[in-house]
Amino acid sequence: MKAKPALPSLSLSTLFGAWLGLLGLTALGLVLARWSAGASGLPLAVAAVVWFKGWLVARHFIESNLAHPFIAWVLRIFIVCVPAALLITTWFGPQLARWTSL
């Protein structure tokens, strides 16, 4: 049996929850930056926070789960790019610098 796709929400509570989540993740980012400055795991934690915040906006404000596949993929790709690039630069910074030297 074909599953019935979800439909746009008429509830503000989901949006409110996403907004609270964004505020909480912003606070978490500040705490991490304050207490883990220079720690080797900070970029990984920040990358996770950046991805999750982008996902919250895309999923709950833009409703990417209901959107045309092209739109959903554009959002997915953009949201993952910065966290991925941050990790690549953290772990392979010297190699990236070598590859991008003229």
Partner: protein
Amino acid sequence: MTTAAIQAFPVDDGQPDRQPAGGRIPGNHGIWVGITCEFVEFLVLFTVYFVARAHNAEAFEAGPGRLSTLAGTAITLLMVTSSFFIACSVTTMRAGQQRQSLYWLIGGLVFALGYPLVKYLEFQWNLGHGIHGDSGIFFTVYYYLTLTHLVHGFWGILGLLWVLANHVNGSYTAESHPGLEALASYWHATDIIWLALFPLFYLLA
């Protein structure tokens, strides 16, 4: 919710699915061409950031400590809150609550206007602390990306004013409000970009 809204908009009412095949286009096709171009533009700019960071790791570790974390945090709160208000405006419009939708939109505009205001104060603060575009590679990239984002913020605010005028004129209904949803999509996309910029320039010391 009005009867008209229930009949015209495909909400989850237990009836057979009336969602367009292939998924929804939030707003209209044109705005998604624009948003895709905006994302591509910022992917290029983020590439500049990461290549510069790879070549100048020390400058990028020291740079965030000299910027105003308060300003960056304030802009983040303004962006996510305006995005939330505008999303609420779309949702209440869907439900046929035009007046509430208008109030949410006005709230979204007020918070959105805080962004250029805080950015202006931040730049004044920067200048007062000797932080210019030529103060080092980190600050060159910082001004390059954040000023470009501010320009996109201005487009969004102009769009907000246009949509607000249409809303006041009663151009949007529960059945048809693509302009409102297009503006909301653009503002959310601009919000996503800021949420990536914020830690790169203000937190990652």
